[in-house]
C-alpha cells in the first residue's frame, strides 16, 4: 500500500476512534478530549483551602465567612504532598458525606496530622455585577484523632 494511503488510513482511523470515545464519554477519554476547560464563561466556581487551626483558642464556627473572616494560619497543600485541585474536587463533587468519604478526605492528609488541627473549607466564587464575590464554608476539621464534619453537610 502506498505510504500516503497507509498514513491517511491510520490518521482517519485514530480520528474516528477519537470522535467515538469522546462522543460516548462526555468529551474525555485520555489522551482524547474536546478540551472543554474554561468553556463556560462567568459560571460560579468552587475550590478548597486549608487552614491550620492548631492551638487556636477561639471556638470554631461552621458558618460561611468572607476572606477577612478566615481563622487560623494558611496551610500550603503542595509542599505537604497534596494536590489542591484534587482537594477542591473531592470537596465540591462529594454529594453525600458518608463514613467512607470522610475517611477518604482524611487519608489525603494522613501524614500531616500529627500534632496538628486542620480546617478544610470550600471556597465559592460568583460574579456580582462588576466584581467577584468569594465566601468560605468550613467543611471538615481534621486532627490525629479523627475528622469532624460540618453538621450541615448532606450525609
Amino acid at each position: 500500500m502506498p505510504v500516503y494511503r497507509r498514513a491517511a488510513y491510520v490518521l482517519v482511523g485514530t480520528f474516528v476512534a477519537y470522535g467515538v470515545l469522546v462522543g460516548t464519554h462526555l468529551g474525555e477519554f485520555w489522551p482524547f478530549s474536546i478540551y472543554p476547560m474554561f468553556s463556560q464563561g462567568g459560571n460560579p466556581w468552587s475550590r478548597a483551602v486549608v487552614r491550620d487551626v492548631t492551638g487556636l483558642e477561639e471556638p470554631l464556627s461552621w458558618q460561611a465567612v468572607g476572606p477577612e473572616g478566615l481563622m487560623g494560619r494558611p496551610f500550603a497543600t503542595k509542599p505537604n504532598g497534596i494536590d489542591p485541585i484534587d482537594l477542591a474536587n473531592f470537596v465540591s463533587k462529594t454529594e453525600r458525606w458518608d463514613a467512607d468519604r470522610a475517611a477518604g478526605l482524611r487519608r489525603m492528609f494522613y501524614d500531616q496530622l500529627e500534632g496538628r488541627r486542620l480546617l478544610v473549607l470550600r471556597a465559592n466564587g460568583r460574579l456580582e455585577a462588576d466584581s467577584v464575590a468569594v465566601e468560605f464554608v468550613p467543611y471538615a476539621l481534621l486532627d490525629a484523632e479523627g475528622i469532624t464534619l460540618n453538621p450541615a453537610l448532606p450525609r
Binding site: 478540551y35 464563561g41 477542591a88 467512607d100 487519608r107 471556597a123
Partner: protein
C-alpha cells in the same frame, strides 16, 4: 495529497539534522512519559476512593491500584516498555506503554480533576506507537510520528476554541469572565502555597475590562486558528502564537503545562535546520557525530 504532503512530507529528502532532531524529540517524549508514570504512580498511593471514574476506570475497577504498590509496579513496567521502544527492541512496546499509561492516568485522576496537561505527550506517544506498528522504513516512522502529532495538536487547540463558542458563544471573551478565573486561580495559589499575590498583568486585567477582554479574545482566536499548523508554511508562527497563549495563561492564571510547553517549543522551532547548520561547524560536528551514529543505530 497536498494536505497529506504538508502534514507528513514523505516525498521530501531527509537531512541528518532531521534524524538527530527526531531521536532527541523521541527521547524527550520517553523521559516525559517516564516522569508522568512515576509521578502519577506515587500520588496514587494517597488515594483511597474513586470520586469520578475517567476513561477505562468506567469499565474496570481501578481501586485495585489503591493501598498497595501496584501503581509503582505499573510505572516500572511502563519505564521498561518505553526503553524497549526507544531502543527498537520490539515494535509493540510503545503501544503497550501507552495502554498502561492510560490505566495509570485513570487510577491517578479518579478524584474529580480532569487535567489536560499530559494530553499532548499522550497523543505523541500514541503517534510513536502507531508509527512503529504501521511503518517499516525509519524515515516513514519519523515523518508519520511528527505529522500525526501536528495534526492532533492543531485539532486539540481548535476543539478548545470551538468548545468555548459552543459553551458560551462569542461573549466568552467578556473580560469579566477572566476576572472570575483570576480569582479562582488565586484561591488555588492560596491553597497550594499559603499565599496569593496579584502580578502586574493580573492587576492590569482586573483594573481594565477592555484589557481583560483583549486577553481572552487573543486566546480564543489563537485556539480557533490552531488547525493552520497542519500546513508547513504556517506551522512555526501558529505554534509560536500557541506558546504565547500558554505564557499568557501562566502569567494571568498561574497555569502552566510544562511538558506540553516544552514539546511545543520542540515542535515549533526549526531545530533540524539549526542542527544541520551546526554540523557544518567542525567543533559542533564532532560533538554531533556520536549522536548521529546513535540515531542511525536505533532509527
Amino acid at each position: 495529497m497536498n494536505f497529506l504532503d504538508n502534514l507528513f512530507g514523505f516525498g521530501r529528502d531527509e537531512t541528518p539534522g532531521e534524524r538527530i532532531f527526531f531521536k532527541l524529540f523521541e527521547l524527550f517524549v520517553v523521559l516525559g512519559t517516564v516522569y508522568l508514570a512515576w509521578t502519577w504512580g506515587r500520588y496514587t498511593l494517597r488515594i483511597s476512593d474513586v470520586v469520578l471514574p475517567l476513561g477505562i476506570a468506567q469499565y474496570i475497577d481501578v481501586s485495585v491500584f489503591f493501598g498497595n504498590v501496584l501503581p509503582l509496579v505499573n510505572a516500572a513496567l511502563i519505564t521498561v516498555l518505553l526503553a524497549a521502544g526507544f531502543f527498537r527492541v520490539t515494535r509493540a512496546a510503545y503501544l503497550l506503554a501507552f495502554l498502561l499509561l492510560h490505566v495509570q492516568y485513570a487510577a491517578r485522576y479518579s478524584l474529580g480533576e480532569i487535567p489536560h496537561s499530559a494530553n499532548l505527550l499522550g497523543m505523541t506517544l500514541l503517534g510513536l506507537a502507531l508509527a512503529a506498528l504501521f511503518f517499516r522504513r525509519p524515515v516513514e516512522v519519523r515523518r508519520f510520528t511528527l505529522g500525526f502529532t501536528y495534526f492532533f495538536t492543531g485539532l486539540g487547540y481548535t476543539l478548545a476554541g470551538v468548545s468555548k463558542l459552543v459553551g458560551t458563544g462569542v461573549s466568552w471573551a467578556d473580560g469579566r469572565h477572566l476576572w472570575m478565573w483570576i480569582y479562582e486561580k488565586g484561591i488555588d495559589a492560596l491553597s497550594k502555597t499559603g499565599a496569593a499575590d496579584l502580578n502586574v498583568l493580573q492587576e492590569l486585567a482586573l483594573a481594565d475590562h477592555t484589557v481583560a477582554t483583549a486577553f481572552l479574545a487573543f486566546g480564543m482566536l489563537t485556539e480557533l486558528g490552531a488547525w493552520l499548523m497542519w500546513w508547513r508554511r504556517f506551522r512555526t508562527p501558529v505554534i509560536l502564537a500557541v506558546l504565547g497563549l500558554h505564557l499568557g495563561i501562566f502569567w494571568v492564571m498561574n497555569i502552566m503545562f510544562y511538558l506540553a510547553f516544552y514539546e511545543l517549543v520542540l515542535l515549533g522551532l526549526p531545530w533540524a535546520a539549526w542542527i544541520d547548520r551546526a554540523r557544518a561547524v567542525p567543533a559542533a560536528g564532532r560533538v554531533l557525530e556520536p549522536v548521529e551514529r546513535f540515531t542511525m543505530r536505533f532509527a
